[in-house]
């Protein structure tokens, strides 16, 4: 099991219950790493199923209705067999988490649905509930251990090679099956919301091992992520505030002091679909009306200090009611609200969530034997937007992987690793530490980030994408193989060494991302091309699949898997497409 959190934890619990001998390798410590700890966190399930497990669901809702909303909101690219499973396991998974002691703060419209369709909890309490289960079952964990590559033989994945970051020892893991729950590749972007460990490890390892990737062009940017002051950088507190009752009070301003969303979405303004708020923010920056650090102003000054104190008080009450001690809300939020009385805060668009990834089916099986993927690192469920709850995605797919993999494990035996493959991977791991010089990893990371800042933002264009393709290919071929630590040759906690092993993975994900964005000559969901702003269902209601052919990417197209809901035809403007995709969502109008 690679990863220990929202997806990885349940996978191991269910696999161990099914009798499998499980080992977790986690890049950090369980419940203290990855994306899940930072989730809001919201979990979806349909109203009918909610009522069955004693939650205040809405009887008008049904699994079918939830399914249809998910497919439509994903702009019809989602695999409908996976969506059906998601709906089924959303209910099962909620029951699991409640049984494991995750508290419910509220049951409500967690994604602005027409009716209450999910519950709000805390990411920290969620991952701690999972940790208790993993510990109770005595599942062994290799902590602070980064899996570097998968071992393959006879078309199967048969283990992995990893680096213990604290000791610098190389670990060989033999396994009948490997489940990847490694999250996204946010760290490849100049500005992102994720924890430091999300570097595309799963996607890159699966691709190298021969598995297909899908939908890599679908990356969601979170607008209203803190840009400035530095202490708050990358926090999504403003984004979260916008989702609460305080949402309609928030104004986004440009450097001329205008509420610029008037230009892009006058009916819902700042409360509009996140994709459109992100596009609006970027257009203002491009027009020279951005904030000093390249974003927009998040303004509350118009509320007067009393108004701001009222919001702070409401939030404190909510936290007290739920005995919630999370520092982002207890320390950072009051600080920012206090600042907002005297100055406008700066917010911007941050790479936030990957809707595509390792291609899986409804059983979390990848396209190679012995390899499974669950959660954000997988692709197929979401289509072109992060629809509904990602927390539910990771837990549901985690449980499915935990149920499915043990059956396969019973059917196969261990295979001895291929020595030449071990030598190749070992050599690659050790190369950055060998004598001589090369490319300092931080230099390359800086150049990658200036490239994403220039060419791989929310609004993409053909010219920028072609430039990104050229430069990324050059970095992959000429520089990644020469990455070399510059400051210290120690094997223990050597950040440059770790980065030397992560950078090729981030480059690979970015290359797939820019390739897919260049190919997809339309705009759909989170993918926006300034030069192709229409949503084109006649030509582009297809998924892009990426595979490794001797080191070069090969792409193909796949019609989305349809069970019952036919995708639409015709072309529409992006705004119209968003409007029909989100027709069932309740969006607050302008006050």
């Amino acid at each position: 099991m690679v990863g220990s959190e929202g997806a990885g934890g349940p996978t191991t619990v269910f696999a161990a219950r099914a009798g499998a001998d499980v080992l977790i390798a986690s890049k950090g410590k369980i419940s203290k790493c990855g994306a899940s700890q930072m989730a809001g966190a919201d979990f979806n399930l349909d109203g009918e199923s909610a009522l069955e497990i004693g939650l205040p669901g809405d009887g008008r809702d049904s699994p079918r209705r939830f399914f249809e909303d998910l497919v439509r909101e994903g702009f019809y690219l989602g695999n409908q067999k996976i969506v059906e499973k998601y709906v089924e396991y959303a209910a099962k998974n909620t029951a699991d988490l409640l049984e494991w002691g995750m508290p419910v703060y509220r049951f409500e419209q967690v994604h602005a649905e027409e009716m209450a369709r999910g519950l709000i909890s805390s990411g920290v309490k969620w991952v701690r509930a999972i940790r208790r289960q993993v510990k109770e079952m005595n599942i062994p964990i290799l902590e602070d251990t980064m899996v570097v590559d998968l071992l393959t033989r006879e078309g199967r994945v048969i283990g992995a090679m990893a680096l213990d970051l604290k000791t610098g020892e190389i670990v060989l893991i033999k396994a009948k099956a490997v489940v990847l729950c490694t999250g996204g590749w946010q760290q490849a972007y100049h500005f992102s919301t994720a924890s430091t460990d999300l570097t595309g490890d799963g996607q890159a390892m699966a691709y190298r091992a021969g598995a297909e990737l899908l939908g890599m062009e679908m990356v969601q940017y979170a607008p209203m992520t803190m840009l400035w002051p530095p202490i708050a950088r990358k926090s999504i507190i403003p984004y979260i505030l916008c989702e609460t009752e305080a949402g309609p009070l928030i104004q986004l301003l440009n450097s001329d002091g205008e509420r610029f969303m008037e230009r892009y979405d006058p009916s819902t303004m700042e409360q509009g679909t996140k994709e459109i708020v992100a596009i609006g923010t970027e257009l203002e920056v491009e027009a020279g009306r951005g904030s000093p650090h390249g974003g927009a102003f998040f303004a509350l000054k118009h509320l007067t200090p009393d108004g701001v104190d009222f919001i702070a008080g409401k939030y404190r009450e909510f936290l007290d009611e739920n005995s919630d001690k999370r520092s982002e809300f207890r320390t950072l939020l009051p600080y920012l609200l206090e600042r907002s009385k005297i100055e406008d805060l700066e917010v911007g668009n941050a790479a936030h969530f990957m809707a595509g990834g390792i291609k899986v089916n409804e059983l979390t099986e990848t396209t190679i034997l012995g390899l499974y993927a669950a959660g954000e690192c997988s692709g197929g469920l979401l289509g072109s937007v992060r629809v509904a709850s990602a927390c539910t995605q990771v837990s549901a797919q985690g449980r499915i992987a935990g149920e499915v993999a043990p059956t396969y494990m019973r059917e196969v035996g261990h295979l001895e690793p291929d020595l030449s493959q071990l030598e190749e991977i070992y050599g690659r791991i050790m190369r950055p530490l060998e004598s001589g010089d090369g490319v300092p990893p931080l230099d390359l990371l800086r150049r990658v980030h200036s490239l994403t800042a220039e060419c791989l933002k929310v609004i993409k264009g053909g010219e920028g994408l072609r430039k990104a393709q050229r430069e990324l290919a050059g970095m992959r071929k000429d520089e990644a193989p020469r990455l070399h630590v510059s400051a210290s040759g120690t094997r223990r906690l050597n950040y440059e060494w770790e980065l030397s092993l992560e950078l090729p993975k981030m480059l690979l994900c970015l290359e797939m991302y820019s390739l897919g964005c260049l190919m997809r000559e339309e705009s759909r969901g989170v993918h926006y091309r300034g030069d192709f702003p229409q949503t084109d269902n006649d030509r582009w209601c297809v998924n892009i699949v990426y595979s490794n052919r001797g080191g070069e990417a090969e792409t193909s197209f796949e019609e989305p898997v349809v069970t019952t809901l036919r995708p639409p035809t015709g072309k529409t403007s992006f705004n119209q497409a968003v409007e029909s995709a989100t027709a069932s969502l309740k969006r607050r109008g302008v006050e």
């Binding site: 950090g28 430091t196 002051p229 202490i231 520092s327 950072l332 931080l442 906690l493 440059e496």
Partner: protein
């Protein structure tokens, strides 16, 4: 950035090669907005000395792993304001793996 930067004394120690810990001084330029202790450490590693070992993960108090001693007091590096010169040490000096990262991290 015109004014003097923040002077940071950082404990450095590699139990494999060093007989005992020592302090190294760095100067981090002040930003025109509030910075955290983390922001300073990140600046040092990215611009002055990539060999410095410290812990960072979520940046905003979720993981609770970035405990560090700032002028003797144990705090989380991510949520603590860097508002003046400071001395940084690991929480547990007897169990250092390298520099500011100790076994209890």
């Amino acid at each position: 950035m015109g004014e003097a930067g923040i002077k940071i004394r950082c404990l450095r120690f590699d139990p494999e090669t060093d007989a005992e810990p020592r302090f190294q001084e760095y100067e981090v330029p002040r930003a025109d907005g509030d910075m955290s202790v983390h922001d300073c450490l990140e600046y040092i590693r990215n611009n002055l000395d990539p060999s410095l070992a410290y812990f960072i993960n979520c940046r905003h108090g979720f993981c609770q792993r970035c405990h560090i001693r700032v002028n003797g007091k144990v705090v989380l590096a991510c949520e603590t304001m860097a508002d003046g010169d400071m001395t940084l040490e690991p929480v547990n000096a007897d169990r250092i793996i390298r520099d500011l990262w100790c076994e209890s991290t």
